[in-house]
Structures are given as structure tokens and as C-alpha cells.
């Protein structure tokens, strides 16, 4: 069935069309809510020279850290990196270009990218190295810098539940950057834990409406925990 049915049968199909040199936006915060199987598929395909936009870059051997192993990433926009040794090494060797971006600015860049807003003014980063070379303006006595939107060739997203029309719900704090990422890809691919029948998801509870989504795939997830912290 075609029409609004966004389901694909395999990861190969899910990432069909990705090529070297493309920009890939990835959801997730740390290892929480990352599209781990879609990342693994990018690794399998061996595409190179990718520009990746993601809050972090995974850890050694997991998440986006996997793409460092074969030097598939040439540039990354992130707010916090260096949770893995390989990343640090590639950064120090200038093998990977890192554009450190304030976390809220990163989220807003993708939100704007998906919403047809080419740039926006923000106070974040004014008077710091982040503001250098950027247009400045004063509104109501406060200084702002102009930040440009980000769009991607591919957006890879981790959802919880979706229907086959591509309406997506996220679970707990695994939401994070995923909804913005989903809006800003030319091709948006969402992997979820469960695909349900249209009508099963409460329409007002849907986080990402299907209009943003091109492909949906159901899978299982390791969901690795970065810092397991418990109370005694």
C-alpha cells in the first residue's frame, strides 16, 4: 500500500539514497534517544565526508562514535563532544572539523530550518567567541547575534511509537532533539519501537506529525546507558 504508508521493510531501504558528502541531522542527547540502528546502517554503507549535526557524537563503539571508526564524519555541529577517545584524537589531528554550537542555538537552528526560517537573532553567544563575525543587532536595548538555520539531506530520528502514516510519539527524555531533527531533513527517516495502526495514537498526543516523515521502520534497540546513577 502506498499513499501515506511510510513503512519500509529494511534498513537498507530506510537509508536508500545517502551519499558521501551529505549532511545528516541526528536526534538524541548523549546516548538517550539516538537512532542507533540507522547510524549502524550508515556505518555499514561506508559513506564518507559526512557533515553531522547532533548535540553529541556518541561514545567509543556506540552511536555516532561508530562513524568515527572509519573516518566517515568530516565535520560536526555539536554542543558537547569529547565523550570518546577516538573523537578527541581526530579533533586534535584536525581530521574532523568541529563547530561548537550552544545547545539552545543548535535546537533552534534545526527548528528554524524545518520551519522555513532562514536565520534568527539570539542573545546566546553575544560577546563570546561564538558571536565573532556574526551580524549583531540591538532590540530593546539588548544585544543579539544572527544565527542561520540548519537543514539536512537526511534526518535520522528515534521515536517510540508511530503509525504507518509517520505520526510519531517519543518516550520520556528520549524526545530531546528528535522533533526538530525530524522537521529539517530533505529525507526524514524515523526508527521506532512499535508501529501501530492509524487511529491508535491519540491525535493531540502526537509529537511529530507524519507530514515531516518520509520513512518509518520498526526495530529493537540496545538503549545503552551512559551514566547509570542510582540511589541507595
Amino acid at each position: 500500500m502506498a499513499g501515506f504508508d511510510k513503512r519500509v521493510a529494511s534498513y537498507e531501504e530506510a537509508m536508500e539514497g545517502i551519499e558521501s558528502g551529505m549532511t545528516v541531522l541526528a536526534g538524541g542527547f548523549g546516548l538517550c534517544g539516538i537512532p542507533e540502528n540507522l547510524i549502524a546502517e550508515i556505518k555499514r554503507r561506508g559513506v564518507k565526508d559526512l557533515t553531522v549535526v547532533s548535540n553529541n557524537c556518541g561514545v567509543d563503539g556506540f552511536g555516532l562514535g561508530l562513524l568515527l571508526e572509519d573516518r566517515q564524519i568530516s565535520k560536526i555541529f555539536a554542543s558537547y563532544v569529547g565523550e570518546n577517545a577516538l573523537f578527541e584524537q581526530q579533533m586534535l589531528n584536525n581530521e574532523i572539523e568541529v563547530v561548537l554550537t550552544p545547545q539552545g542555538t543548535l535546537a533552534e537552528k534545526m527548528r528554524a530550518g524545518g520551519a522555513g526560517i532562514p536565520a534568527f537573532y539570539t542573545a546566546t553567544g553575544y560577546g563570546t567567541p561564538i558571536g565573532e563575525g556574526k551580524e549583531e543587532r540591538v532590540f530593546d536595548g539588548r544585544h543579539y547575534i544572527l544565527e542561520e538555520a540548519i537543514k539536512g539531506d537526511f534526518a535520522i530520528v528515534k521515536g517510540w511509537k508511530a503509525d504507518r502514516y509517520g505520526n510519531v510519539m517519543y518516550r520520556h527524555t528520549a524526545q530531546n532533539f528528535n522533533p526538530m531533527v525530524a522537521t529539517a531533513g530533505k529525507i526524514t527517516v524515523v526508527e521506532v519501537e512499535e508501529i501501530v495502526e492509524p487511529g491508535e495514537l491519540e491525535p493531540s498526543q502526537i509529537h511529530t506529525p507524519g507530514i515531516y516523515v518520509d520513512r518509518i521502520i520498526q526495530s529493537t534497540f540496545e538503549k545503552r546507558i551512559e551514566k547509570r546513577t542510582v540511589r541507595s
Binding site: F29, G30, L31, C32, G33, N55, A78, S79, Y80, V81, G82, E88, M91, L92, L100, P102, Q103, G104, T105, L106, A107, E108, M110, R111, T122, A123, T124, G125, Y126, G127, T128, P129, I130, H143, W160, R171, H172, T173, A174, Q175, N176, F177, N178, P179, M180, H207, K223, R224, I225, E226, K227, R228, T229, V230, R231
Partner: protein, 220 residues
């Protein structure tokens, strides 16, 4: 005696007010959550998208989809809300968070803060710190007053690259509680047993010392 980390957290906690939404940074600020005064209710905001952060989970409650901005497993308290990163930073940038507490390497008398990079050392990124300092009206910086070598971190002008310009109005160090106003630090309180002279000596920026500088008191 210089304040311990726990005492610093206790002192900051006295600035909490009933009904405050509060963002606590990593390190000493995180400890503030342990000293919320009895009888007041505050909601902790975690910038990965959680308003109403609860306690750490029990072993049974651990959920990989439930973490805080420090990437630690956490729980949500009753009445919590969970949302996207854009929504989270709309709260922060829109000035809706009542109090932000974060650490710093240096602050200066103009309210500038440097907390995210030391040139020549490995730079890991600013995370949400630049958004937090730009968005909040009400920020408390927690830091040591001077480096291990005795060099002041309360300066006339920050040496390190800034996190934010002109945004800090209160600083709690291990020696003193200060306000920043009109291009100067104002000494408001001193740590128990720490002399005004020691604070003066360890403050490189312009420091205004009122006639009376009360000593902080701590229980037990």
C-alpha cells in the same frame, strides 16, 4: 575556614524561593538539590527536556529513556513535564527560569563569565551554558575564589573566552558571597572564620567592602 562544597550548596539553597523554577548546573550546583529548605517547593529544570526532575532512580526504576542534562539516569517527580530541546531552551532563553546556578572558571566586575574553554586545552563544548547565562535574569555563580596557586578568579576583566557578557549578578565562592553591580563586586557575606582582609587580598577586581560584612552561619 573556606566553605566545603556542601556548605556552598547549602548557602545557595537559601536563595531558593517557594515556587521557583531552577536550573542547576553540573558540580556544586547539583548538590543544591540536597538542601532545598523545608516547606518550600521548587521545580528543577534539566535542559535536555525535563521540568520537575526527581531523585535518582532505584535499581528497579532505572530507565535509559529517562536522563538528566548530566546524562545520569534520573526520575521525574509528580507534576513533571517532558518536552523537546527547542521547548526547553525556549523556557531558558525566554527568561522563564527563575534561578540558574552554574560553575565558572572566572567572573569579572562587569558580570562577564568564562566557564567553557581554556585555550590550549581540549575543548569539549559549552553545552547549554551560553543559553543559560544569556537567558536568565537571576544567576548565581559558584566557584573557588582563587586558584590553587592563589590567583584570583574574581577579576577586573576575564582572561578566558567568555560564556556570556554582562550577565552575572551574584557569586558564591568558598570564601564569600558577593553581588556584582555597577562595575564592582560588593562583599555581602564572608565564610565562617575568613577575614575581610583575606577576601580583599584574593579579589583582583574592584571590590566594595561595606562597614559590616556578616559571617555566614551553618547548622551542626
Amino acid at each position: 575556614m573556606a566553605l566545603t562544597r556542601e556548605q556552598m550548596a547549602q548557602r545557595v539553597a537559601r536563595e531558593l524561593q517557594d515556587g521557583f523554577y531552577v536550573n542547576l548546573g553540573i558540580g556544586i550546583p547539583t548538590l543544591v538539590a540536597n538542601y532545598i529548605p523545608d516547606g518550600i517547593d521548587v521545580m528543577l529544570q534539566s535542559e535536555n527536556g525535563l521540568l520537575g526532575m526527581g531523585r535518582f532512580p532505584t535499581e528497579e526504576e532505572v530507565d535509559p529513556d529517562m536522563i538528566n542534562a548530566g546524562k545520569q539516569t534520573v526520575t521525574a517527580r509528580p507534576g513533571a513535564a517532558i518536552f523537546s530541546s527547542a521547548e526547553s531552551f525556549a523556557m531558558i532563553r525566554g527568561g522563564h527560569v527563575d534561578l540558574t546556578v552554574l560553575g565558572a572558571f572566572e567572573v569579572d566586575q562587569e558580570g562577564n563569565i568564562a566557564s567553557w574553554m581554556v585555550p590550549g586545552k581540549l575543548i569539549k563544548g559549552m553545552g547549554g551554558a551560553m543559553d543559560l547565562v544569556a537567558g536568565a535574569e537571576n544567576i548565581i555563580c559558584t566557584m573557588t575564589h582563587a586558584s590553587k596557586h592563589g590567583e584570583s578568579k574574581l577579576l577586573e576583566k576575564c582572561n578566558l573566552p567568555l560564556t556570556g557578557a554582562g550577565c552575572i549578578n551574584r557569586v558564591l565562592t568558598d570564601l564569600a558571597y558577593l553581588e556584582i553591580k555597577d562595575g564592582a563586586f560588593i562583599l555581602k557575606e564572608r565564610a565562617p572564620g575568613v577575614s575581610v582582609e583575606e577576601i580583599v587580598e584574593k579579589t583582583a577586581g574592584k571590590l566594595i567592602v561595606p562597614d559590616h560584612v556578616p559571617e555566614m552561619t551553618f547548622d551542626e
